[in-house]
């Protein structure tokens, strides 16, 4: 049933779904946006971590005596103590502070930590050796669908292959960290976080564990994060360094800044689990997929890692026989953190790559093969539509050739594709919208803008609802004192925050209409807010400008409240989307270098609020995908147990010239009735599988694991 909260019908939308400049764009382009790292408070001290230099060991001594005599030293707090075990190189041992950044470096370097070393293991791909090192635990063994043996018998073609992708790290450009100013009973935290509303409780709990500090109330903590420099799933918690930073602030009576160094950021503050697997898939002659069997293993650090959701997307339990076995490999590397669409990029590689290999064996065009089996997915119609659209965008019909059939020159060109899905259920959110007598409107909630466009989407929703323009709305987010809203993870923000904002704005407007109705001698129901005016539907002579209308409030400010979820609040959001991506690559078979010609992406997200920022999320996903498909890997050395590339010269990321042409199509006006669904994760899933498939199509052989570095490409060619 329609409610007053429902999104306006397509014809009535003047802002929703259109292109808008990012509200925070000018502040960022001018370098005026203040990030946590940019906070310089009066008398502020600089802090730095001392971290473990061994991958596994027991701490037998911590000597800070030299550090305490270092120029500018102001204090230190232990995070671990003598007797504690460290499980990875880079583990946080203590935090130390001094008057300048240079002095704190000297002081940190003067700390000596002694360890009794213990055996370590950092290699996840070689599961046999990991097993010999006692690092492997079975995690899952499960069979679904029709009888597997029968299914294999019915298959006309099968392929068995080895596929995988390495551990990578988030490498947020603004490192993890914060500035803490503990004055009296007030703790102000400028945190680089994806969870403004969650940090007060997290910090208070962490501090209260320390008897010397005693109980700290969550309400004494104020988190301020108007801007943050990248998280991608890695910045939900206060972490040991945040708690240590607060303790240093209390101890010294000064504000303290502790931002991780680049090597620490790469070693301990990021990490997407690996996944490797032997996969077998089978199909009938006509391409009907009948069976999928996997033995996979992965690591996310000492805790290992659970199973990826395989088979992925193509997983109908009634028609596809499936068996999945997973092994959990424990390694002494920094612990995994959530990465855009946890487990899905891995599952896409472990499913879409063997599927394209099977299509090649069946001599089928992958577009036909993936479409033919669309009934095995949860959204056959969406995927069929998206596959056709994407194929058109990349020029599949003209450019695709049979695997390896790519001419005699050294540079081979190929196409590949992949499909993905994601939930994106909205998180809980509370919003307060204020309408001031001077006409000012503000949207207030303890949310955050990770760079995805939250300032802009909330402005658009409020402006659309009130018949105003984007600059008329002031969005206040990034403060934990505002009404509580969820953490930004799992593509839950846009659905949650736009719904609470829409409801709050509708409620506020109703109140305004009541006041204006009296002044205009009409009914509130008769009033419409549009084009900067509030006017009567029945009598066009009764009209006030927005400012005039608000002046009728006298000295009263309206506050409209809105919540997500709200059972009576209309259908504003949903979860569950599909997307398709296709890649066009060139591979130089003499050098092994892969380059991207083009990637096309088609994505469904229900109702699009801000088209341009939505597209930016997809472009960003594709670019990050090029990075982990071709370049990125956290490389560990078993002898020393250390990460060999915790820096930006050997932890490779693409530049502006490495990404080829990217084309994005957001599906609009097709699934709008579903309401808003998140966009952060879905497009981040498929790029690796699509690029790997394109490379296989180009050179005629599968390069088994990502990243597809030149050495691996050449090795695959040599083994062919």
């Amino acid at each position: 049933m329609a409610t007053k909260y429902d999104w306006p019908a397509a014809d009535d939308r003047s802002l929703i779904g259109k292109r808008h400049n990012r509200v925070d764009g000018p502040a960022k382009a001018r370098g005026a946006a203040k990030y946590s790292y940019d906070r310089n408070l009066d008398g502020m001290l600089y802090a730095k971590l001392v971290t473990s230099t061994v991958p596994h060991g027991r701490i037998v001594g911590i000597d800070t005596s030299r550090a305490e005599k270092a120029p500018g030293y102001k204090g230190h707090v232990n995070i671990l103590n003598v007797g504690d075990e460290v499980q990875w190189a880079g583990a946080e041992i203590l935090a130390i502070c001094a008057d300048t950044e240079e002095h704190v470096r000297d002081a940190a370097a003067a700390v000596t930590v002694l360890y009794e070393s213990m055996p370590h293991w950092v290699k996840d791909e070689d599961v046999e050796k990991a097993g010999e090192a006692n690092r492997v635990k079975p995690a899952k063994d499960d069979t679904k669908g029709p009888n597997l043996e029968e299914a294999w018998k019915s298959a006309d073609a099968t392929v068995e292959g080895y596929y995988g992708l390495a551990v990578i790290t988030h490498c947020c450009l603004e490192p993890h960290g914060q500035v803490v100013d503990w004055t009296g009973d007030e703790i102000t935290v400028y945190a680089s976080t994806q969870a403004v509303a969650r940090i007060p409780g997290d910090l208070a709990t962490g501090l209260s564990r320390d008897e010397k500090i005693g109980t700290v109330a969550a309400d004494s903590v104020h988190v301020i994060t108007p801007y943050m420099g990248g998280g991608f799933g890695s910045k939900f918690n206060i972490d040991t360094w945040g708690i240590a930073c607060a303790k240093l602030s209390k101890m010294t009576g000064k504000p303290v800044k502790l931002m991780l160094d680049r090597d620490e950021e790469l070693m301990v503050a990021g990490g997407r689990p690996s996944d490797f697997g032997n996969i077998k898939v089978g199909a009938k002659k006509d391409g009907t997929l009948v069976a999928y069997e996997s033995e996979t293993w992965s690591t996310g650090g000492i805790a290992g890692r659970g199973s990826p959701p395989v088979p992925y997307v193509y997983n109908n339990e009634e028609r596809l026989a499936q068996k999945a076995r997973h092994l959990n490999v424990s390694t002494n590397i920094g612990p995994a953190r959530a990465w855009r669409a946890p487990n899905h990029p891995q599952a896409a590689v472990l499913t879409m790559c063997p599927m394209e290999d099977l299509a090649a064996k069946l001599d089928m065009n992958p577009v036909d093969f993936f479409k033919k089996n669309a009934d095995l997915t949860a959204r056959p119609e969406v995927y069929r539509y998206e596959i056709d659209k994407c194929a058109e965008m990349i020029g599949w019909a003209d450019k695709w050739h049979k695997r390896g059939d790519s001419g005699s020159g050294p540079v081979k060109r190929g196409l590949g594709m992949s499909l993905h899905t994601w939930g994106g259920r909205p998180h809980d959110s509370t919003c307060e919208v204020r309408i001031q007598p001077d006409g000012g409107v503000s949207v207030n909630m303890a949310s955050q803008d990770l760079g995805v466009g939250t300032y802009t989407t909330l402005s658009v929703v409020a402006a659309e609802t009130l018949g105003l323009q984007i600059p008329d709305i002031k969005v206040n987010i990034g403060s934990s004192k505002l009404p509580i809203s969820g953490a930004s993870g799992g593509s839950t923000t846009v659905g949650g925050t736009t719904a609470s904002t829409r409801r709050a704005t509708v409620n506020a407007l109703e109140e305004l209409k009541t006041v204006v109705a009296e002044a205009l001698e009409t009914e509130a129901d008769d009033l419409v807010a549009k084009d900067g005016k509030v006017f009567s539907k029945s009598d066009s002579s009764k009209s006030l400008t927005w400012q005039e209308a608000c002046r009728k409030l006298g000295n009263r400010t309206i506050t409209g409240q809105g919540k997500q979820p709200d059972r009576n609040g209309g259908k504003l959001n949903d979860s569950g989307v599909g997307g398709v991506q296709m890649a066009d690559v060139s591979v130089d078979v003499e050098t092994g270098i892969v380059s991207i010609n083009k990637i096309a992406a088609v994505q469904d997200v229900g109702l699009v609020i801000c088209l341009e920022q939505c597209e930016s999320q997809v472009y960003g996903s594709l670019i990050q995908g090029v990075a982990w498909a071709l370049y990125e890997e956290s490389i560990y050395d078993q002898t020393t147990g250390k990460m060999l590339n915790p820096d930006m010269e050997f932890y490779k990321l693409p530049g502006a010239g490495d990404i080829g042409e990217l084309e994005v199509h957001m599906v609009q006006n097709k699934y709008d009735d579903r309401g808003v669904i998140g966009i952060g994760e879905p497009p981040a899933i498929s790029p690796g599988a699509a690029i790997s498939n394109a490379v296989a199509n180009a050179i005629g052989v599968r390069v088994p694991t990502l990243p597809l570095t030149p050495d691996k490409v050449l090795a695959a060619l040599a083994n062919a």
Binding site: K28, R30, Y35, R262, E615, Y619, I623, Q624, A656
Partner: protein, 210 residues
């Protein structure tokens, strides 16, 4: 004490590309690195090199010319330009990300050239014209590169943006009609983790033509 002996560190003259990084030893020993070349070429240069004393490790008074204003500060000779800008002068537009000349987030202009300010010492920047992101726009108008960044949504988290804007400005300053390939190569020293290059490339390309 000046670097007369070429093995002590390469000499630099007005006809050579300025070197953007020095070993600490060269620094401490020879602020007047141009001395040898000045003699050879015979151009008029301040003769500061001939009489200088070793400096550091204690803080030294320096003057930096930033965005047309002169700033006096005391820093240890080891303090980099990025740390002087951010920690001493609260000019936090330029970011410190890799701190070793790989990401471009710290890019500023020095005498009109884009420079990684994490790899230049503050004392080395004396007497040179430093321009930061804060200096290229006014209260009411943005530099064309900045305006085009907004126009093309060339930013997400925005942490790389100031560096990319400065790199973009360097491209359009030196080439009024850059091709897309020129733009890509001019931006190749900057990394964006969120993946904004599609908008960034268009922004710089259009800014040159604006």
């Amino acid at each position: 004490m000046s670097s007369k002996n070429p093995t002590d560190g390469p000499a630099r003259g007005p006809d050579q590309e300025p070197r953007q990084g020095f070993s600490r030893r060269t620094f401490i020993e020879g602020v007047g690195i141009g001395a040898g070349a000045v003699g050879a070429i015979g151009t008029a240069q301040p003769a500061r090199a001939d009489t200088h004393e070793p400096v550091g490790p204690d803080p030294v008074a320096i003057t930096l010319n930033i965005n047309g204003k002169s700033h006096e500060l005391k820093v240890e000779p080891r303090v980099t330009l990025i740390d002087a800008l951010r920690n001493r002068l609260d000019l936090t537009g330029a970011k410190k990300v890799c701190d070793r000349a790989t990401c471009g987030a710290c890019t500023v202009m020095v005498d009109g050239d884009p420079v990684y300010s994490c790899t230049m010492l503050a004392i080395e920047a004396q007497g040179r014209r430093i321009e930061t992101i804060e200096g290229i726009s006014t209260e009411d108008s943005m530099h064309p590169v900045q305006a085009q960044f907004v126009e093309h949504d060339a930013q997400q988290c925005g942490f790389c943006t100031p560096g990319l804007v400065m790199a973009g400005k360097a491209i359009v300053d030196s080439n009024p009609q850059p091709t897309m390939a020129d733009v890509e190569s001019g931006l190749s020293g900057n990394i964006c983790r969120c993946g904004t290059y599609v908008g960034v490339r268009k922004a710089v390309y259009d800014a040159a033509r604006a």
